[in-house]
């Protein structure tokens, strides 16, 4: 269930775990330097990284697999590309292989990152540095190239058209990536904005509309993925761009999409008239610190005075609303007080 369909809303997420320093398999940080964390979530496998630098600082474009607590296994050379996603095959694809041509499409095996040709030899419209997702009817990319927005590359590889509604981001973005989302028809779009921060939102590829608000993290992020297997977001924090890390290793954090409830509105009547023989519906709204809705919260309803409470416990919906009904019987007279309590 989507948290909200109000495009443009900011939604705070809740830190679940971390920060964890990224380390290599023997838990020694000196062997490899992980330049970019994370790159892509590979369902059934984990976080895939690119750009792991070898000892001594010389650049080796390597790929690695990382666990949610930051341990990286270096798997081998990366043939210089930007990773995308192919939902139908649950595989990572790459938009360019040979530096310069930027048009070749490869598909990764996630065990060793061996590659396999997947498409035509060249795809003219597929640009370098433009990670994309391959859908049955089109390829989608999101980058700072052109209009700073979604572009749909049709399968003939020539025609590129704007995709979807205007971007919901705050600030000027510099680049974007598309990751696996919460279902095969949804993707998780992350964009970098000036200041080395990252924003993210889910996008419905069938409805062609944003299916979540923009997630707000409150800390500077370098990159992020949505861990489809576990329903959490993994963010990367780069020590080069984030001086708060004091030059230490990169870090990752794990976030819940849940909103921590902090505000509950007064009870309001939304349906019916307070009158003998009527059923009246009341509601409250639960939100977080940034007024973002908190779905799934349990509300205890109590009542003093005439009338019968029909729903003593209800859950908040996707927009943070919880409702209850009160039945006023014939002959009921006097004042009633309906109270909602949020159990934390």
């Amino acid at each position: 269930m989507c948290a909200s369909r109000d495009a443009g809303n900011a939604m705070a997420v809740r830190l679940l775990a971390g920060p964890f320093d990224t380390t290599v398999m023997d838990n020694q940080p000196a062997d490899l330097v992980i330049q970019a964390v994370p790159s892509m979530w590979v369902p059934g496998s984990g976080v895939m990284l690119s750009s792991v630098t070898g000892q001594g600082g010389w650049y080796v474009a390597n790929l690695g697999m990382m666990t949610l607590d930051g341990r990286v296994c270096d798997r081998g050379n990366e043939p210089m590309g930007w990773e995308g996603w192919w939902p139908a095959k649950q595989r990572v694809v790459q938009s360019n292989w040979y530096a310069g041509d930027g048009t070749r499409e490869l598909m990764y095996d996630h065990i060793t990152f061996a590659q396999e040709y997947t498409g035509p030899e060249t795809i003219p419209g597929l640009q370098r540095n433009a990670p994309y997702i391959r859908l049955p009817d089109r390829r989608l990319r999101y980058s700072a190239v052109g209009a700073h927005s979604f572009r749909a590359l049709l399968n003939d590889g020539v025609t590129e058209v704007p995709e979807g509604p205007p971007p919901p981001w705050t600030g000027t973005m510099t680049s974007g990536r598309i990751h696996p989302g919460r279902s095969e028809t949804e993707v998780f779009v992350t964009v970098s904005v000036y200041g080395n921060n990252v924003q993210a939102a889910f996008y419905d590829t069938v409805r062609r509309e944003w299916s979540s608000p923009v997630y707000y993290f409150g800390v500077k992020c370098y990159s992020m993925v949505y861990a489809t297997d576990f329903g959490v977001i993994v963010t990367g924090h780069n020590y080069v761009s984030d001086p708060e890390l004091n030059g230490k290793s990169n870090q990752i954090r794990i976030w819940s999409l849940e909103v921590e409830p902090t505000i509950i509105t007064p009870v309001e009547r939304v349906l019916g008239t307070v009158k003998s023989g009527q059923v009246v519906t009341y509601r409250v709204r639960v939100t977080g610190a940034h007024n973002d809705p908190a779905p799934g919260e349990l509300i205890d309803w109590t009542m003093v005075g005439p009338g019968t409470l029909l729903d003593p416990q209800t859950l908040t919906d996707a927009n943070g609303y919880a409702t209850t009904r009160v039945q006023y019987r014939l002959g009921d007279t006097g004042n009633s007080v309906v109270t909602a309590t949020l159990s934390c």
Partner: protein, 667 residues
């Protein structure tokens, strides 16, 4: 991971001039034609003398695939050996799916089928007099150019590895290493009969060696020591594992030990025992003993660590939250079907049992009580590190720790049970050679290894072997059969004083060579070997050297074995280290770490315990850097260091002691 399940005895040098195992040529596992379920491992390699370009021994070995014992050695080319026609082709030997062998001579772009002759039937003690018995060509040769440039003109890297499937329908497959340009490495699959290129399966790094496994599958060893199992008919990668680190570090002239290169490694598949056989060119032991041996591995899913417990939902009063841990192997692949033992401290309790799935993931359900707070730290416990969001009304802490039982990782790790002794407290004994009556690993010796007749150009030099021995003892200030653990320093000291080092072929001793023209052997790493040479003025044995070789170091037969018998518990050390941050810089921190390790080891085998210690540095009355293993003989213990002085974890056998009184484990 690759679990070691088999190893042969190491190669032994046969001749005095053999200096190091220079490289691998071929290795196959050949079913015994007479005994069902038996096989021989046939390996060839090259040994170099002190001057690699003047002395070369090309040799074959046959090992028993069950016992690992040497069945037969074959001299194939070199000093004092028979010659074998076409020996160069044995550099590139492969097994076909039908059981045939193929050798390739890339310099001439040809490959041909052959079968091994007497080498697979000769009995121990028999002599192979006919060189053809080793290598018999039994079919027409093929020109590999038909694959070199297939229909798309893609070149093959000549001189590399290949395998043949001459059984699979459709003309068979020829699978080899393909070069597609700089830093692009592929497994090329061709039609064996027609030579037509079928497809590439690019690999992460350079392909070092390929060997067939069972139907449609082959193992591919990559330069980064990753072994990949490939289905070459479907074009799929089935799995990957990391080859354990090279034993002994960097070989002579070889790789760094972190990577593998073609000249120093060979693989073969033992289809009877279902083992991947790997032989690497490992460096000699310090006194010059060859350590090269064949090891057998099985690719098994075994975890090497579990991740820090991570909550997947926010802990809240009355809520049952999922907490994720993953059991991961050495390639960060999840390992399934392990039961997770979860402990929850604070305002929560575990619900039910957690078992890892095929991703290695296990979900621990935790029932939250009160209003707990959380946040996973690298230590595995949760603590409140603050949040950028509003702080909820936390009232308690939930901490989750998780562990799984990990089985032994190789054949040396199998726990040994036996009689446990008792005793009184004593301090940890000192290291070997630190004084007292401790056994020594090496003794001074005077063993004649043969060569030319000793004769010095100096007047007054010794003329008998006893005289040379006494002279050596006087200049080295040593006594025969006395401790020689410092032999490297002694022999290096002689070289520093001007003793001739490593005389070259046909180099005649002169009076300019001090010490009566005696010379010493120092290897490429600057380390003296346990051998010296007496000078000679005539090449009586026609080996191009004018000297007579003497072994001046021997093993002490009463010394403890260099390889311990206790199971290797390094995985417990690693697991403990990874469980939380440890302060390994202080004695107290080390002591706490050692206690945690000993608990884990003791769970596996009750023979593991602490080292009693009454003097500092110590912690809780025991050593803060070591553990003890009680041997099943009820008399001896083995001491292992697990923390170094600099605060690094290690697994280092220190010594065997003749008393179990220093061992204890708290009740």
């Amino acid at each position: 991971m690759l679990k070691e399940v088999f190893r042969t005895v190491p190669v032994k040098y046969k001749h005095a001039g053999e200096y190091f195992f220079a490289g691998m040529y071929s290795m196959v596992c050949h079913p015994n034609p007479h005994i069902t379920g038996d096989a021989s491992i046939i390996m060839t390699g090259v040994l170099f003398g002190q001057n690699p370009y003047n002395e070369v021994w090309f040799r074959g070995w046959r090992y028993h695939s069950v016992t690992g014992k040497l069945v037969k050695e074959f001299e194939l080319l070199g000093s004092g050996s028979v010659s074998a026609p076409g020996f160069l082709s044995t550099l590139y030997v492969t097994t076909s799916r039908s059981g045939k062998y193929w050798g390739a001579e890339w310099a001439n772009a040809r490959m041909w089928p052959f079968h091994y002759g007497n080498i697979v039937t000769v009995l121990p003690g028999e002599t192979v007099k006919n060189p053809e018995a080793f290598w018999i060509i039994d079919g027409p040769s093929l020109d590999y150019h038909r694959w070199e440039y297939g229909e798309n003109g893609l070149p093959i890297i000549p001189g590399k590895t290949f395998v043949i499937d001459d059984v699979v329908p459709g003309g068979g497959r020829w699978i080899t290493s393909i070069g597609r340009g700089a830093s692009v490495f592929s497994l090329g699959v061709y039609n064996w009969q027609s030579g037509k290129w079928l497809y590439d399966l690019p690999m992460a790094t350079e392909i070092v060696y390929i060997t067939l496994e069972d139907e449609n599958r082959c193992y591919v060893l990559l330069q980064n020591r990753v072994v990949v199992l490939v289905d070459y008919v479907r074009g799929e990668v089935l799995g990957a594992a990391k080859l354990p680190p090279l034993e002994g570090g960097k070989p002579y002239g070889g790789d760094s030990g972190l990577d593998v290169v073609f000249d120093y490694v060979r693989m073969a598949w033992d289809k009877i025992h279902r083992r991947l056989l790997i032989c690497e060119s490992t460096p000699d032991d310090p006194p010059g003993t060859c350590t090269v041996r064949v090891r057998g591995f099985q690719m098994v899913p075994e975890p090497v660590r579990i991740t820090v417990p991570i909550p997947l939902r926010v802990p809240r009063q009355g809520r049952k939250i999922p907490v994720l841990v993953q059991a991961m192997d050495d390639m960060n692949q999840g390992v399934g079907y392990y039961v997770v033992d979860a402990q929850v401290a604070g305002s929560g309790s575990p619900v039910g049992m957690a078992v890892t799935d095929n991703r290695g993931a296990a979900i621990i359900q935790v029932a939250c009580e009160g209003s707990p707070y959380y946040v996973a730290s690298p230590a595995g416990d949760w603590e409140d590190t603050g949040s950028p969001e509003a702080t909820p009304p936390h009232t308690g802490l939930v901490a989750v720790t998780a562990s799984i039982k990990v089985p032994p990782t190789n054949i040396n790790d199998i726990p040994v049970s036996g009689v446990e002794g008792t005793g009184t407290a004593v301090d940890r004994p000192g290291p070997p050679g630190s004084g007292g009556a401790g056994n020594q690993r090496y003794l001074w010796a005077w063993e004649d290894k043969g060569g030319d007749t000793p004769q010095s150009p100096h007047a007054g030099a010794p003329t008998s072997m006893d005289g040379w021995r006494d002279y050596f003892c006087s200049i080295a200030d040593v006594q025969m059969d006395q401790p020689a653990n410092d032999y490297e320093a002694v022999l290096k000291g002689l070289a520093d004083q001007g003793m001739k080092v490593n005389p070259k072929p046909n180099e005649k001793p002169t009076t300019d060579w001090p010490f009566n023209a005696m010379s010493v052997m120092i290897d490429g790493g600057g380390h003296p070997r346990g051998r010296i040479w007496l000078p000679s003025l005539s090449d009586t044995n026609h080996d191009s050297y004018l000297n007579h070789e003497m072994q001046v170091i021997k093993d002490d037969p009463t010394a403890p074995p260099t390889n311990e018998t206790a199971p290797n518990m390094s995985y417990i050390v690693d697991r403990t280290k990874n469980s939380k941050p440890w302060d390994l810089k202080t004695t107290d921190g080390k002591g706490k770490f050692v206690e945690a390790c000993v608990i884990g080891m003791h769970d596996v085998s009750a023979a593991w315990g602490h080292v009693k210690k009454s003097t500092d540095p110590r912690y809780n009355g025991h050593a803060a850097d070591s553990v003890l293993y009680k041997n099943p003989d009820g008399k001896t213990v083995e001491l292992f260091q697990i923390v170094t002085d600099t605060g690094q974890t290690t697994w280092a056998f220190v010594e065997r002691a003749e008393s179990q009184t220093a061992w204890y484990y708290p009740a």
